[in-house]
Amino acid sequence: MDIQTFVFFFLSAILVFASLRVITARNPVHAALHLILAFFTCGGIWALLQAEFLAIAIILVYVGAVMVLFLFVVMMLDINMDRIREGFWSYLPLGAILGLLMVMEMGLVLGSKYFQVPAAEAMVPAGVSNTKSIGALMFTDFVYPFELASLVLLVGMIAAIVLTHRGSKKSKYTNPNQQVFVKAKDRIRVLQMPVEKD
């Protein structure tokens, strides 16, 4: 076993463990932290496959931005996860059997041939930068999907705003113009009260 194979299996084991902990951890903060670990490890595996741009992107975007926000929200919300998770473990036996069966079936269909460590078949020739190629493709051949993706993000933004925006709250402020032109009549109302008898 060469060093690359060892690193691959090492990272994969951490990835599987972290992913499992994401769904089994009782504490949502722990789950989020394990999700960060999973993303980070995934980045490591991609770097091993010489996709260094994707590896950096997942760490910068997911670990750096998305997960920090996520963690922030999870810590702010005081959710009682125990109530939500009631009965969660009772599904475990059936779920585990079904999951194992599916993994076995996929393994039988695809055979051992595809479950090997990806040898670096697609060796990148020296002097070609992965990141630069992705950038070039994105603005030439893939310009149409690229623009569509921006529209998808825009729709996501519109959807988020329309579903959460509950009308602008007017802050209390005074209009100086009205203050200057105010008349005594506007402020004081003289009432005529009939005199009570007896």
């Binding site: 996929m106 030439t140 519109i158 329309v162």
Partner: protein, 506 residues
Amino acid sequence: MFDNFVVPNLLPAAPELFLAAMALFILLVDLVVKDGRRTVIYGLTQLTLLTLIVWRGIPYFRAIFLEQPDAFEALSQITYTFSNMFVIDMMGDLLKLILYMAMSVVLAYSRAYLIEREVMNKGEYYVLALFATLGMMVMISANHFVTIYLGLELLSLALYAMVAMNRDSVASTEAAMKYFVLGALASGLLLYGMSMIYGATGTLEITAVAERLFGGGANRTLLVFGLVFLVSGLAFKLGVVPFHMWIPDVYHGAPTSVTLLIGSAPKLAAFAIVMRLLVSGLFVMVADWQNMLIILSVLSMAVGNLAAIAQTNLKRMLAYSAISHMGFMLLGITTGVVSGDAGNLLNAYSASMFYVIAYVVMTTGAFGMILLMSRAGFEADAIDDFKGLNKRSPWFAAIMLMLMFSMAGVPFFIGFFAKFSVLQAVVAAGYMWLALVAVFFSLIGAFYYLRVVKVMYFDAPVDETPLVAGTNMRLLISANGLAVALLGMFPQVIMSVCAYALLRSL
């Protein structure tokens, strides 16, 4: 690095660009227009769709009614652009034209319903509807796995938001949540299938996938493995058994105007991506996917028609009816090739295309009737709400009668010819048993459509008040009902256009 790059020809994608620009423009206009009824936004949205209808409709008018050969010639061109990611052919062009019409009618029906419900009548509703239209256009014109997926996401995201827009309703929120989670699952299945096929062929471009497969040498196990996931993902999006569970809940829970949108136009786009992925891309695997589709189709007809009988809610009943109709539509696609002989190809696929178009016309009318009956605070979505409709308004009862007869497949409405042409293709392919199963379940299906008719004509009305609806709505829904009857008298017009479109596209 940029040596081989040619700046893409934008002309074939002009309708998409126009629609995207208009949607962005309307989004900005919505910021400055302070109008509670959103008349300006609605007007601009309709203007966009009507412009597209006239723009793309004129060539068809010239070709079909004026019989100008050069118009035919121009329509039957197949053009690729954006590095072969975008294709425009006659099938796509025709489906898009019908899509614009369907969306325009859908929004017109929804107008009064939205005005009565303040919380939904926002400018974003119309903008999201336009983006959903754009997503469907992208799907129809896709020649690349990535564009199919992005179009699908654009459509789905807009729809999830529209279902959830009625925020105060628990049912709508629940429906949106279910739709979102199951839609994400379906997208995952589709993507997994696509990645497997990419692994086997080394390309994401649909026409290139077909070429590699014709060339042979691709790993068959991997292909079949990917195909299973691809078909499952498509089945989810079409809503056929066993991937149908989201349909009844989403149709029922969503506000009726959104149900109308989900139930009509997206079926055209779903048909288009089935054709692009399975027929254009994986035609070599036809024997494999035809068998899968037969199972899906028979199950859908059985479950859809049987479960619809038990429903008391009209929206839910129409949801099960949608499942059965999609199963029927798939029958046509399953019979294109019989034991290696592709003689029945054109016949079968054009029957399916005709079926999908007919279904969109009928379902738009049926949900339109629910919208017509509804008032502020009253949804009119129970079958009992249609009791004695004949006494309240004989004309609209007659329209609903035509729509229900057409959906049931009673002769001389468009639904009959749609069913008939699919059955003809099935029999021509030699699947006698399949045709018998389809007829059997259609007969069962006729029961629940006729029940609606019986309720309208023979039950005493609960609510004696006459219907209140705007003139536009009355005219449009009458036109829709009459279209079901008239197209039933001249079905060959649409049928031959479908056949010609597929002849020139495949």
